[in-house]
Symmetry: C2
Subunit: 446 residues, 2 copies
Amino acid sequence: MRLSRYFLPVLKENPAEAQIVSHRYMLRAGMIKQQAAGIYSWLPLGYRVLRRIEQIVHEEQARAGHIPLLMPTLQPADLWRESGRYDDYGQEMLRIKDRHERDMLYGPTNEEMITDIFRSHVGSYKDLPLTLYHIQWKFRDEMRPRFGVMRGREFLMKDGYNFDLDKDAALHAYNRHMVSYLRTYERMGLTAIPMRAASGPIGGDNTHEFLVLASTGESEVFYDAAVTELKLGDREVDFDNRDEVAGICQEFTTLYARTDETHDAALFDQIPEDRRKVGRGIEVGQIFYFGTKYSEAMGATVVTPEGTKVPVEMGSHGIGVSRLLGAIIEASHDDKGIIWPEGVTPFPVGIVNLKQGDASTDLACEGLYKALAAKGLEALYDDREERAGAKFATMDLIGLPWRITVGPRGLANGVVELTSRRTGESEEMSAEAAVDRIVQVYAGHR
Amino acid sequence: MRLSRYFLPVLKENPAEAQIVSHRYMLRAGMIKQQAAGIYSWLPLGYRVLRRIEQIVHEEQARAGHIPLLMPTLQPADLWRESGRYDDYGQEMLRIKDRHERDMLYGPTNEEMITDIFRSHVGSYKDLPLTLYHIQWKFRDEMRPRFGVMRGREFLMKDGYNFDLDKDAALHAYNRHMVSYLRTYERMGLTAIPMRAASGPIGGDNTHEFLVLASTGESEVFYDAAVTELKLGDREVDFDNRDEVAGICQEFTTLYARTDETHDAALFDQIPEDRRKVGRGIEVGQIFYFGTKYSEAMGATVVTPEGTKVPVEMGSHGIGVSRLLGAIIEASHDDKGIIWPEGVTPFPVGIVNLKQGDASTDLACEGLYKALAAKGLEALYDDREERAGAKFATMDLIGLPWRITVGPRGLANGVVELTSRRTGESEEMSAEAAVDRIVQVYAGHR
């Protein structure tokens, strides 16, 4: 993308309404614009990151064998009357009447609707196991929306639902989600720690939240420092192998890590003192096993191999897709701006032309731009007639992890400069070598 | 995808509520499920086609230089009070009050919001031309939703908005959209004819609708048969070249083609009689030039090179993404089911195992499945223990354009069978040759 043709409305001033760094940088980098309290437009740069995050979620769901579909944003109230949650949900549910005065709502979650889909089409153990998920906009009418996309009213969520014949199979689905989420967050450059949680309005006993450590987090967290060292990495996982998947879950949930809701001071005190940590965390996902809570209420049954009808075992599993942009920025920034992890960056690399209009630098930049494109990497090429300082400031603010700087002096020596946003370190090399390096960096990411 | 692990709830019976073939087949092929009047869940197969269509739209918008973003589904009423459309829009607008009794609405279109984004961030001719678009769910509270996704209430639309300094530039944007839409529809296997239209509530004089000929279409259309022979094909288009783009538009709009709204009997009668056609059409898109209607009302101005402030010139351009699934099926089916064009098919090819459980056919099918996957083509492999007839009927119903049939008799001769859904013709060949053929067919499509 050539910046002269892009829409990247960066702000020089800090917006007064933004209280936390992610909100501030998302506004300043021209990623979002507020349209109403807790309701945002995703401007082109923000939209690109949102799509990257969605893509990673889809890929990791596919790896775990989960099937995507898409449920609508609006739901009939009657479904929620069946489960009994229509009255329980309170003012956070946005209730709507259509022109025929029928009661509708903007879905805050989809347990009822997915159970309705299941009961309409599935009736036999032969069609199990089944896990369906979607990535769709939700609405929760928060009393005081704040912190930008971190606590918005209209927000994008991945929510998945497993259907299984018995509790063991459903717990395997629970574990499968935990493992797939671990890799999902790692690919986004995050350390997201699964912590035992309280269940809230979804119901169910087995539930873990995934928390990203950040001083602006909404939850107080207590953990063993060793838990932050755990990595799933690239290991091959057979998601059909219950023992293997359960083993990984055990590896990631044995060390103490809890939110204030489930904190146990006695257990916490058993951690060696130098590893005993108290901090704050941002919730970026949650998994639940809740058994037959919805299937019983809504009559979603399956016939067992023995010929009896039983309510199907279920769980639900969510990732806060739009909120993740905020969480990633909270976890990865400095005083100049955002530092995107390679997995989610809106553009893999920026090209800064130090002397726009100079025939040789223009030619070199175009060559770089096309060589990267030929490798499937779309650079953001700052081809504006601007001072170098302004170009660097924009690149630092929007946080592309790599920058290639092209100027007449370097070109005279046959080199360009490759700079890491994270370390700030620069290295001179030929344009070809810079392209090769970028290709290599992203080989594992796209 | 292995069918034994997929969620494809096909129906044997024709659903009573479906009046037109696309609605019937989408229900029978397990593509959609109605959740309320005019509100659908997109089951996995339907969701895949929806994503394919979105992908083509994005690619063609990128080719034309248009920039994607994403606006929210809910909008504050105040924006619509500024343009004067809040009161005009009538009962089709879904009006909502949030917990603080603020007036909101579920966006039926986005002229107001995009104008608000523009005026907040752009003030100079230097940032023009600019075209922004999004693909987002809309809601129109139709009195009588019907025909499945063809006239739903919650529907997915691509809507784009151009911002230009003067009328000539805005008309170039209009033409650019026409040309990019021509290729968009062609890639979906459709002949969509641009027809002069009436403007309706968007406003503006220059407007064309794109209509797909189908006997179930909602509009009566009058056209010169020669117009259906026009093809844009693979020609390279320089979207910055005004004359070139205008020339293509002229090529596609000179022959007579109008809806009943703009029909001119005197002009129509000048067409040679054997080419004079009256039929019905499904609207799948519309483009508008409306000048300064919204920019004046909402104060979206730019400073010209001469230093004066003028309201920005605009137009808006829509593609009915979810409705396209219905339109494509109306245009491409037979009495056995859907016939997907290669560009939008949910899976490029189906594999039918005639003897599931037989070691050699299972092995051959797995080999085919993996060989196709290695080429980036995800087959739908029917690995269920079902009769051959049932497997064929499912494949015919869901309409994958190609099927590879693997049976013990063929394998004994070293061959599988490759069948075209469109022609019904089959050919025997080695498994390798079948893979090569499929790769070749899709080379231009993905």
